[in-house]
Assembly symmetry: D2
Homo-oligomer: 377 residues x 4
């Protein structure tokens, strides 16, 4: 019998891309076995999907509540050990909550919840449990991001003094300019997507990344969002000024109307001894700038990288790995945590990242609505 971790998945059926990402990631390090879940609200499609992906259908449940009920009847040695929540955003909170309350470990897609309050409730529940909880800020799993984090921690660029993160996409451009489309897109509907589109979807990635690599906390934000049309209720572009302390500042720039941009997420951190820069679309390069030395370009898999970074590469230098491998690293970390093996806190984003992310979204919108003023995070 397999000694893999028993994984369940909620959502991710049909043509879901996030489903593919999580399934591939879970299989990368021979650690997980997908044993069942609720991939689809429709039972027939649910079963059909299980067959399509070639897993037994006996633990494919008709709905979430049944999953909980039936799994709890199984002995602990057979029960799902961790459940990945890939459903629409508004379901993250109730599902994660009930999973935690019933002793399941949880891997939750971002945004973790739809409000900061929900996030805090979830945190309280987790604090009283022994469960492992991960939020899939996927980009933090890249080897060169891990290297960036450890280089900053070890003083490679001195004291951080300037931070600039960009997350530019163009995908909403053709939608926003078409009255019908912008009324019909769920991402632009506050009922379905919460209070923010651009900041909520991609701004949080930038926010989490900054705090991940620097180990610093954003203290205040001043935001200017763009809704482009007066009948549009959701931001599709926004700049957020950041303060970490009186003289340490930064900014997050996000857009979904940067026409032609694909997924142009970049992070630049400058300290008094040097700078580090990274681009998500070319994730295997980390640029180290100093005042007096040639520019250095670090790449994955080399012995000069930290252990945490090296742990995130499967092949030698020159064999490019990508975003599936990044998510695979996060799943690997969660597997270690579940198995109570030793792991580095940087291996996966936690509840704390999820809570801070929700707070960030609400404070940014508040700053914008108050006329672009400073708001404490």
């Amino acid at each position: 019998m397999s000694n893999k971790i028993r994984l369940g998945i909620l959502g991710g059926g049909g043509d879901s891309l996030i489903g593919v990402l999580h399934r591939v990631a879970s299989s990368m390090y021979d650690s997980y076995q997908l044993v069942g879940g609720v991939f689809n609200p429709d039972l027939d499609q649910n079963i059909g999907f299980a067959e399509k992906i070639g897993i037994p259908t006996d633990r494919v449940y008709k709905d979430f509540d049944t999953l909980i009920e039936e799994e709890l009847k199984l002995p602990e040695t057979e029960r799902m050990q961790v459940v990945s929540v890939l459903t629409p955003n508004f379901l993250h909170f109730p599902m994660a909550k009930k999973l935690l309350e019933n002793g399941f470990n949880v891997i939750c897609e971002k945004p973790m919840t739809t409000t900061y309050e929900e996030a805090r409730i979830l945190k309280d529940i987790l604090d009283r449990s022994n469960a492992i909880f991960a939020v899939t800020y996927t980009y933090t799993g890249y080897p060169m991001i891990r290297q960036m984090k450890e280089m900053i921690a070890s003083g490679a660029i001195g004291t951080v003094q300037k931070i600039d993160a960009q997350y530019y996409q163009g995908w909403i451009n053709p939608i926003i300019h078409d009255g019908e489309k912008r009324a019909a897109t769920w991402r632009l509907d506050p009922e379905k997507s919460g209070i923010s589109c651009c900041i909520g979807d991609i701004g949080t990635h930038a926010f989490d990344m900054i705090e991940y690599v620097t180990g610093m906390e954003v203290k205040e934000v001043l935001a200017d969002l763009n809704y482009v049309y007066s009948d549009n209720k959701m931001d599709v572009d926004g700049t957020v000024l950041l303060r970490f302390s009186e003289f340490v500042k930064g900014l997050i720039r996000t857009s979904q109307i940067a026409t032609g941009e694909e997924n142009n997420f970049t992070v630049s951190i400058y300290g008094d001894k040097g700078g580090l820069k990274w681009e998500q679309e070319n994730p295997n390069y980390l640029y180290h700038l100093t005042e007096t030395e040639p520019l250095k370009v670090l790449k994955p898999g080399h012995a000069y990288n930290s252990e945490l970074s090296l742990d995130g590469s499967k092949l030698p230098p020159g064999h490019p790995e990508g975003i599936f491998d990044s998510m695979g690293n996060i799943y690997k970390g969660v597997a270690r945590a579940i198995r109570k093996e030793k792991y580095h806190p940087g291996e996966f984003p936690t509840m704390n990242d999820g809570v801070r992310g929700m707070n960030f979204i609400e404070r940014v919108v508040e700053s914008h609505q108050k006329g672009n003023t400073w708001v404490k995070v």
Copy 2:
């Protein structure tokens, strides 16, 4: 019960990187289930490895002959459908031969055999069977390589008139200059590695790639190899001039002493209407040059790509995929072939690629030994 394709693996145990690559690739599209194999010549390590990667140990066999014997006892509906051969090079031929003779489909690592003669024998056997046989020239699975192939086929650069492929690495540099190390390295021992090191290991990738993307055949070669030391019996660097026809020429440049290079494999194809260029270390960019238009940079996942290319991307543009995903595409194609689904001949390299590759290696060494003269392929 799972309807996944039942996969066996020979070799790839312990810390084998090629083992990781094949296991991850096989799991990417929910198509395969690893049911057993012989991962290691030592039975205990073999069992231990199976446990480590979390698969049942009942079909982990003590050796290759036992695997054949026992699997044949199973009903066809339970028997392994395909076996991946990841063992040391000299075992590829006997194992692939026996697998084909016993009706198994085969996925074989490159080089397919150690001699051209073995390759032709294997081809004869395959020609008399109904089996699917793939050789894992991994790089042909990249979406932008597939796009390159289809653009050339569709006339995007006109008639091909100039070809240049480079495969530069530096890994053998510290070994070659150390008398003891170069005597002890199996790659430099003709008994273990066949007649060529550099051409055999990486030159064949370049050769196969050129024929894959252009659909043309190399007719003649003139090679100059470098052994660096007179006591060294294996090439570690070599340039091969190519002739496709009287006025269509090209070259393959390979090196393992290009110090500091990682896995710098590039392909440039020029026609009378334009050129196409690609670099393995940045595999998600395809450069299209013409005389009168701006340089165009094609990227995976866009609607302007061919079906074959799009089939090789799992996520939208801007989400970088890498070499695991490339190998995953090859496994996906093999799965379709095994399931007798429709597939494109460009989805995986076949026996023919393997045979030509072996011929290429022998002709290159012949050309060098004859004093750098032209030899027909």
Copy 3:
């Protein structure tokens, strides 16, 4: 006798880099002859410098007033036709003013003056004269910037909807953290450098560039500057949010504490049909992004470029030109204007650019001092 334009230069002696830049630029198109000037406040050094650069010393004057006086005595056919003002910033205004009042054409380094008021005075004088007046925002002379301007004007990216300019340097980093150095650096002394360091020196380049390439005007700014130390009186970093209209926004990001950055000036303009991006450190590439086509990379000298762009290249594609060539293009435009030949208004930045630049600096500082609020430009 030469029919070149007779050029005088104020400042730029000794090891002055700006002097080299202007002299080389003036010589690039066989249009100017340097006939004299005041290179240095010390007459001996002044003469010595003239000898060093190999020009006759008879029109090398002891000071600016003498230059005016003596040149006016010469017949118009011998008199300096244009004078380049390369002196310290606070001298730009009085010198440019007197030159204009005495009928000389002027090429003035930026910042044009030290206050917005001075700038308006200068503009009034120019408006009543027939003189040619250029401000050397050097970067607008690059062929791909000219191409960007014309592509935007011709609708290549549709209606502009998002603008992002970055100008990051790191040079002041080692100075700012050293109490003695930061007290002794003239750039950080408001007496010598006006009210702003970072915005005044490099922010204005970004501001002018945005208005140059888009043809649009910034209407409002909200700025957050960073002085890093409480005893430091000049900004060394700053982010400026821009409004062009209610729903068309942008930002300028500037820093002199982005440690390790050299002269990293980039401009990205997004419209509803596409985007255009450019980087000063690799000035011969213009990136054109659309939603449905491959990324296009335009390069100088190709027939697909506009006339204005092509006029800025001296050699065929593939022969990189740089910042000297960019300044040379500005001088070429001024030569045409002086000779009353036909020229394109985009060939050199004018008084209007200078005036708006000074207004921008003052409004940015005002916004910061008012607590990061919106201020009209």
Copy 4:
């Protein structure tokens, strides 16, 4: 009176690009004054051109012989000190010869002559004179090429073991496929262009560059050229295998049918301690590869560069200079030599480079004609 070096120019009139390049280069460091020449075989056009570029016409001569005659009548303090030969290739030899014989310093465009024999004759004459003679292999003037030379000399990459130079262009592609055009193009006419087109025009640049940066000499060549059509008499593509010693090899790859390539000249040198790579189209980056350190990217103007390199930059890092600046550096070196100031032998290519270049061309064609065999250089 000016103390600049008195420069004459032969050729380079009309729309000549090479004329622009030399005039701008000569003016870059305030060292030369163009006093006359023979820009055009037609006297009227000759005078007209002098007026257009704004120089006095009194020393614009009707032909080369007259120039020699008249200049010799002038006192040495007024006579041209150096003459740049920019005429069609077949005139280089007779003009350079006569100039040297009459005591003029010479700056000669490449190829220096049309045959190796002419080159040796020229060398003999020079050896018996005190003149300065430079051949304008322009690319050797780039600061990062100078840095590459000095790093190799100082052992930064250890003992050189592998060399690869590429010079790919596509410009002849539309001509070669058009029977009429290829018959009418002077570059493809052996009467006008000597025995080689591609090797003669660009292969020599690669050859000179390799010997320049490594300080090593090519000992043997084996070449395969491509004439593309049987009625075409001149190579438009060619690969040359190089031997420096038994185990140190390299290659030069050249093409004018690499459709879409502009001026893609690259040089890669690998030693047993590391590698150095450079690309002409992005000349301000020098890549330093080692086995154990991150990739280092060196840029001009930094203190970590050698004196020779730093001498070739006029502005601080981040201000891109280009090919005009590279040629300017060569002219600067020649000026120092003429003035008998101290200079580094790497500042400009000499007669020796010219002679070896002509020998290379002839040996390459010989190797090709002998059926692609090894020929000593």
